[in-house]
Amino acid sequence: MDATKMAAVGLSASYGRGPAITDINLEFGPNSATAIIGPSGCGKSTFIRCLNRMHETAPRATVTGKVFLDGEDIYEQDPTAVRRRIGMVFQRPNPFATMTIFDNVAAALRFNGRHSREETDKIVYESLQAAALWEEVKDHLFAGATSLSGGQQQRLCIARALAAQPEVLLMDEPCSALDPISTAKVEDLIFTLKRTYTVIIVTHNMQQAARVADRTAFFYLGKLIEVNDTKEIFERPKEKLTEGYVSGRFG
């Protein structure tokens, strides 16, 4: 890895009781995808939500440690400004249910300074293109977002995240609520997106990690067990736990 776009240093977080993640140190390179794998409840979501300061919106949540973006600690900055630079796609598609397809994407701009009509139209178009959704929705941009299928809704959410023109894209099991065909589309998309963005994707699907990620980090019981190039993690894991997980003995 030649450069670091983002890095977690000594990151721990809890929901008020015991720690959900403990002392995570992890770096993310630019223009690459990092997968975070591990069994259910091991803290993948908690970790990724600390990376854009969403974790602290939960009741009684605590965070310690640092997260650097371009060398600066995001916990020293305004959280809304941080979240504009670090987009997020959630586990279940969550388009704004009261808005049209167009407005869902344009909403990203609304929280993000003023934009002229032409600018908005252009960014909405480009974002829908980038999310490989444009062809499917171009004839009913002003239909309600909930009229779309689950897979389309998730790509709409990706388009919405891209419209804010982030530098990093966090994805928390973005395909877990989708059918195989939609999953394949979103995976293709991630493959393209990682050329321009720093993508961090949580998945409990190891094939998915193997397909899209350059590096893979294995979490277990709130701890980072091992991180390496994806190929290494799957073919020559150094830790017993990692080996047990990737060979399907638990998880």
Binding site: N52, T98, A107, A108, F111, A164
Partner: protein, 349 residues
């Protein structure tokens, strides 16, 4: 050829005996229940209809536009009371909804750090408690605390503020539209002798009574908005308020609207508290400082001392009109809800 609907056969699957009896009993009970509700409504309408026959024969539909209530000449118009009912309820709603909505936004949308959840729960309890206070208590408070305060402080203050504002904007208004200026000059809502027991006091008491109802229900509507809707906005860099305004409030709009209509229903029919503070004047109010009556307060004050069968019948017709107004409000509300079905009721995550 039409293909058979495969689900049809599934639906027609013969059920076991026990289940069928259970279904039948269930259907019977809910049918009786639903029938009873409709039956009670029809019975009430029927009683009010027959009871008001003398009044309807004497005054016809004109009773709703007739402004005169005069026992000596046996002329009974209900315009003053319809005016009073709609005016006090409308003002009450305008005052109550922003406050109630503000409180429910405060209780559901504030960051956990800004408002600890224990305090949040306690405040929610207080709101629910307020909704359970009997209306006579609000009435007494209105009569002994609010009315004197309105008379000595609020009413004179409002009048002078209105006049000062009027003087300030009068030249501009006159320049734009002399007609509007002249009209505004002679149509101050704050004219007349200040007595304290008036339309404004009644509206304020109603607002205070309606706030807890609207607050409790709109709070539930806001709390029912899925967290991912809010997080979607926050993750785009929205502030707490922007997320509330753009994602949460639109999602809950039908619930908030329903809460307001329920509050309106309570205001329209409220009797005791209004009777105590509205002054029970029988002329149409031309100022917020005039005393007045609502349909409900008229029934409360005149029914037991009605001077003859005609007045008695008119008071029953007042009840009929009140019922029709509340029914009308509910039907219109339902139509609007149906038209603008928010996603809360129509699927969507």
């Amino acid at each position: 050829m039409r293909l058979a609907n495969p689900f049809r056969t599934l639906l027609r699957r013969p059920s076991q005996g026990r289940r069928r009896w259970g279904d039948l009993a269930f259907r019977g009970i809910v049918t009786i229940g639903a029938g009873a509700v409709v039956g009670v409504l029809v019975a009430i309408l029927w009683i009010l209809w027959t009871g008001s026959s003398q009044s309807r024969a004497a005054f016809g539909l004109g009773i709703v536009t007739n402004p005169t209530w005069d026992i000596t000449t046996n002329v009974f118009g209900l315009l003053p009371m319809i005016d009073g009912t709609l005016l006090t309820s409308a003002i009450a709603l305008v005052l109550a909804v922003p406050i109630a909505l503000g409180s429910s936004i405060f209780l559901t949308q504030l960051a956990p750090k800004a408002l600890p959840s224990a305090l949040k729960a306690a405040l929610a309890q207080v709101v629910d408690l307020l909704a359970a206070i009997p209306s006579i208590v609000y009435g007494f408070w209105g009569l002994f605390v609010l009315v004197p305060y309105m008379r000595t402080t609020v009413d004179p203050g409002l009048r002078s503020a209105y006049d000062r504002l009027g003087n300030l904007v009068a030249p501009t208004v006159h320049a734009v539209s002399p007609g509007a200026s002249a009209w505004a000059g002679t149509h101050s809502p704050f004219t007349g002798t200040i007595i304290g027991e008036d339309v404004l006091s009644a509206s304020i008491v109603l607002a205070i009574m309606v706030i807890p109802t609207v607050a409790a229900i709109s709070r539930d509507a806001l709390a029912a908005v899925p967290i991912p809707q809010r997080e979607a906005a926050l993750a785009l860099g929205a502030t707490n308020w922007e997320a509330t305004r753009r994602a949460v409030l639109p999602y809950a709009r039908s619930g908030i609207f329903g809460a307001s209509i329920l509050g309106l229903g309570r205001a329209l029919g409220e009797t005791m508290a209004v009777t105590l503070v509205i002054g029970n004047g029988l002329a149409p109010p031309t100022s917020l400082f005039n005393s007045g009556s609502t349909l409900a307060s008229l029934i409360a004050t005149q029914f037991s001392e009605s001077t003859g069968p005609l007045e008695y019948s008119v008071i029953i017709e007042a009840g009929l009109i009140l019922l029709l107004i509340t029914l009308g409000v509910n039907i219109v509300a339902r139509a609007i809800l149906w038209r603008f079905q928010s996603p809360g009721g129509a699927g969507g995550d």
